[in-house]
Symmetry: C2
Subunit: 459 residues, 2 copies
C-alpha cells in the first residue's frame, strides 16, 4: 500500500462523517424557504475546504445563491484544473415515499440515503477528500487546482455564466473536471461521453374570467383542463414520437459505429424495468431504450395542475390550467429554437375559445466529449487502475448545462468522471450513494491528479 | 298594501341582517378543517328557526354534517309541505380572485357578495323570512310545513337518503319545495322544469415505483401525466362530443316541441359569452349552447394534478397523475352505468406500460317536473302575481341530487322555485345574490303558501 493509499484509508471514517454532516443541510435551491439553508451549506463547504488545506477560500454572493470557491495554485508551469460541483439539491416531494427523512442521512446496506447523497454532495466530497489526502501526504498537489462549487445547478445555474465571464481570474483553467454523473453499472468506472441539453417551458391555458359551475355552464363553456390535456396529448404521436412539428429536423443521428458501441455497453433492460417497477418502455420506435434515454430528444411533462385539487369534490369548470414541460435535446438541437417550436405548436393547436401562453424557462445545449484529449486519457488510466476494470465510455441522458457553459465560455475540455450509483434515485425519493464507491473514488481522483500532472496538460 | 305585505316590509332590514350573519359562517362541507363551522352554522340556523316561530326545532347528527329540522303542523286536513335547502357551501379557492373576502359579506350595487349568498343560504333565508312574516301576521300558517336544511348538498348529500328512509315521521309530506336554482333573467320569476343528473369519478394513473429523473430515464420511461392527458383528450372528439363509447346510447332526445320552447326563452348567448369572458362556445354540434348546458350530457374535468407543482423547476417523470371528473346526465341516463362506461373507456385506452384506477364518486339521476300538478300551478300563480311577469319554465343544467331522492323515495312532486341571480357565480369567486330579489321572493313564497292552501293539495 502506497503512503497515499494509507493516508486515504486512515482518513476514511472522518471523510464519511464529513459527508453525512454536509447532507444534513437541506439546501434546496428551488424553494424560497430554504434560502438560509443555502447560505449555511455554502459556509459549511468553505470551512471544509479550509480544513483540507485549500487556499483563497471565498463564499461569493450572486443574485441567487452563493458560489463557493477555493484554490491551490503554486507552479505556473503545471496545468491548472477547475473542479466544478454543486451543493444545492432537488426538492424532496413526495416526502411520504422516503423510507428515512431526506435530510437525516442513514447508512443502510452499504449506502448512504439522503437527498444530495449522489447529486452532488457525495461527489463533491470525493474531490475534497482526495485533495485533502494528497496535501496531507505530500504537502502539495501535483497540479494547480481551482474548486468552484455552485448552489444553483438544480435551477439552471443562472449565476454561473455571468461568474465565468466576470471572474476570469478565478476560473481560467486548462481543463475542467466534473463529478456529477453516474457509473454505468455498480462498481464500473465510467466516463460520460455525452450529455443531453434541455429546453424548459411553462404552458398556461385560460378559458374564462372565473371558474364556472359545471352544472350551469357545462357542455358549452370551454374547460381549460380539457384544452391543456389535448395540447399535451397532441405533443406525442401514438408511437411515442414527439409530434411537435420541426422537433427532429436538426437532430444529428448517432452513427452506426456509435450505435454499435452503445449496444456493447452492459445495459440490462430487464433489470432496469424491474427496479423502476415499469410496466414496459414508452418512446420512439426504431431506437433501443438505452438510445432513447441518452442520444434521442424527449418531451416530458414534469408537472400539471388546474381546477380543484382538494379533498372531496368541487364541480367547477376550471378557467386556467398549467403544465411544466422540459425537452431533453441532443447534438444538433438548439434550446431557443426548441422553445420557439413548442410555442408555435401550442399556439397553433389552441382552439379559438382558449388562450395559450408559453413561458420559456432555462435552457442548455447538448454536449459531446473529445475522447482523444490527454485529460480524458489520464482519467481513463486512473479509473482503470483504481477500479481494476475497463472504463465504460457512455453517453448519459441527463443535462448538465454548466458543461455546455464551460465548453462555450472557457473553450477547454471537460472530464465527466461520475461516481453516482446507477440506481442512485437522484431527483427522486430515497436518493443514495454507495459507501464503498465513496471510498474508492477518493483514490481514483487522487491518482487522476498524478496522471494529469505526468501528461503535462498545460494548454 | 295588505297586512302581510306590511309585515314583510317592516321585517326587511332584520331579515337582511340575519342573512348577512348566516353568510359569515364558513360552512364548507368538503373540507375537514371546517367541521366546527358546520356545527356552528347548524346551530345558528336552529336558533333562527325558533326566532321565526317554527316548532320542534332539532339539530340532528348524521355520520357527516348535521341536518337541521323544524316544523309547524296543526291541521291534519291541510296539506303538508316539506321545504328543503342546504346550509353548506362550496370551497372558495381560488381565493385571490374574490373582490371581497368570501365570508365577509359585502353589499355592492344592490347585491350581497359572499360564498353561499345564492347557493343556498340566501334562498333558505327567503323561506324562513316568509314563514316568519306569515306567523307574525296571522299567528298561523296556511298549510302544515316541515323545514329540512341539510349540510352535505355540495358533497353529494350522503346522509340525506338514509334520513328520508329512517325518519318518515319527519319527512312525510304532500309535496316538496326547493329554492336552490336560478331565475332565468334578472327579476324574471322562474320554475325549474328539469335537472341534470351527475356521475363522478376520480381517475388515477400510475407508471413507476417512484418519480424518475427525466434526464436519466426520459425518452423510454412512461410518464403518468402524459398518459393522463391522453386519456382525458381521448374522452372528447374534435367536435366537442363526448367520445366515451356508449355514453349517448340511452339519452332521450328533447322533443321538437321542447326544443321550440327552449328557443323561445330569453337566452342571450352574446351577453353570457361577454359576462363569462369566454372566447367562444365549446361542445356538441347540432344543439344550441342553451341545450348543451341544460338537456345534453357532459364530460368535465374538475381538477387534474401530478408531478412537481411547486415554484421553479423539477425535472421529474411523475410516477402518478390524477383527475377529478364529473359527467352531467340527462333523461334516460343512469349514473352507475355511466361510471361503468367511463371505467371501461379508461381501462381500454390505458397503454400496457401504465395502470389506471377509476374510483366512483357521488351520483344522481336526472329529473323532470310534472307541470300539470296543482302544486306547480300554485307556484306559477304566486310567482306571476308577485313579480308581475309570466313565469319562465326552464330546465337547468345543474344537478340537485336530492330532488331525485325526494322523487324516488317520497314519491311526491317537487316545486323548484329558484331565486338566484342568473349571474350568481355559484361555485365560483364573487358569488352574489340580489337584495331586491331577496325582498320580493319573501312575498312570493308567502303567497305561494296561501295559494297552495287554497288548492287543497292534500294527497
Amino acid at each position: 500500500m502506497s503512503s497515499l493509499q494509507e493516508q486515504l484509508a486512515s482518513r476514511f471514517e472522518q471523510d464519511l462523517s464529513d459527508l453525512i454532516e454536509f447532507l444534513r443541510i437541506p439546501s434546496v435551491s428551488a424553494l424560497r424557504e430554504h434560502r438560509a439553508d443555502m447560505h449555511r451549506a455554502a459556509e459549511w463547504l468553505a470551512a471544509a475546504m479550509r480544513r483540507v488545506g485549500l487556499e483563497n477560500v471565498q463564499v461569493i454572493e450572486t443574485p441567487g445563491h452563493p458560489i463557493v470557491y477555493a484554490d491551490w495554485i503554486r507552479d505556473a508551469n503545471k496545468p491548472t484544473a477547475l473542479i466544478y460541483g454543486h451543493y444545492d439539491v432537488q426538492p424532496v416531494d413526495p416526502l411520504d415515499l422516503w423510507e428515512s427523512p431526506p435530510f437525516e442521512p442513514e447508512v443502510r446496506q452499504g449506502r448512504i440515503y439522503a437527498r444530495g447523497a449522489s447529486d452532488d454532495k457525495g461527489q463533491v466530497m470525493v474531490h475534497l477528500a482526495a485533495l485533502g489526502a494528497l496535501l496531507a501526504c505530500y504537502g502539495e498537489l501535483p497540479v494547480n487546482v481551482r474548486v468552484l462549487i455552485e448552489g444553483e445547478e438544480e435551477v439552471g445555474s443562472p449565476s454561473l455564466e455571468p461568474f465565468l465571464q466576470e471572474r476570469p481570474d478565478l476560473v481560467s483553467a486548462d481543463f475542467v473536471v466534473i463529478s456529477d454523473t453516474s457509473m454505468f453499472a455498480p462498481g464500473l468506472p465510467t466516463l460520460c461521453t455525452g450529455l443531453r441539453g434541455i429546453a424548459a417551458v411553462e404552458l398556461h391555458v385560460t378559458t374564462a374570467a372565473t371558474d364556472l359551475h359545471s352544472g350551469l355552464y357545462g357542455g358549452a363553456a370551454p374547460n381549460a383542463l380539457q384544452v391543456l390535456a389535448q395540447l399535451i396529448a397532441a405533443s406525442k404521436d401514438d408511437q411515442g414520437r414527439v409530434a411537435v412539428p420541426g422537433f427532429y429536423d436538426r437532430v444529428i443521428e448517432p452513427t452506426p459505429r456509435e450505435r454499435q458501441a452503445y449496444a456493447a455497453l452492459p445495459f440490462n433492460e430487464k433489470e432496469l424495468l424491474e427496479r423502476l417497477e415499469l410496466g414496459g418502455w414508452d418512446g420512439e420506435p426504431g431506437y433501443t431504450p438505452f438510445e432513447r434515454m441518452t442520444v434521442r430528444p424527449t418531451f416530458e411533462v414534469n408537472g400539471m395542475w388546474g381546477g380543484f385539487l382538494g379533498e372531496g369534490s368541487k364541480t367547477v369548470i376550471p378557467r386556467e390550467a398549467h403544465a411544466k414541460i422540459t425537452c431533453r435535446l441532443v447534438a444538433g438541437q438548439d434550446p431557443e429554437e426548441v422553445v420557439r417550436l413548442l410555442t408555435a405548436h401550442f399556439q397553433r393547436l389552441c382552439p379559438p375559445y382558449a388562450r395559450v401562453e408559453v413561458t420559456p424557462g432555462h435552457g442548455a445545449r447538448p454536449w459531446k466529449a473529445d475522447l482523444e484529449h490527454p485529460a480524458l486519457q489520464a482519467a481513463i488510466r486512473a479509473l482503470q487502475r483504481t477500479f481494476g476494470k475497463d472504463v465504460a465510455l457512455a453517453p448519459t441522458g441527463g443535462s448538465i448545462p454548466v458543461v455546455e457553459s464551460f465548453d462555450r465560455l472557457l473553450r477547454v475540455p471537460c472530464v465527466l468522471m461520475g461516481f453516482a450509483d446507477p440506481d442512485s434515485n437522484a431527483h427522486a425519493p430515497n436518493e443514495r450513494f454507495s459507501v464503498e464507491t465513496f471510498r474508492v473514488a477518493r483514490e481514483a481522483v487522487a491518482l487522476f491528479w498524478q496522471e494529469a500532472a505526468r501528461d503535462g496538460l498545460k494548454s
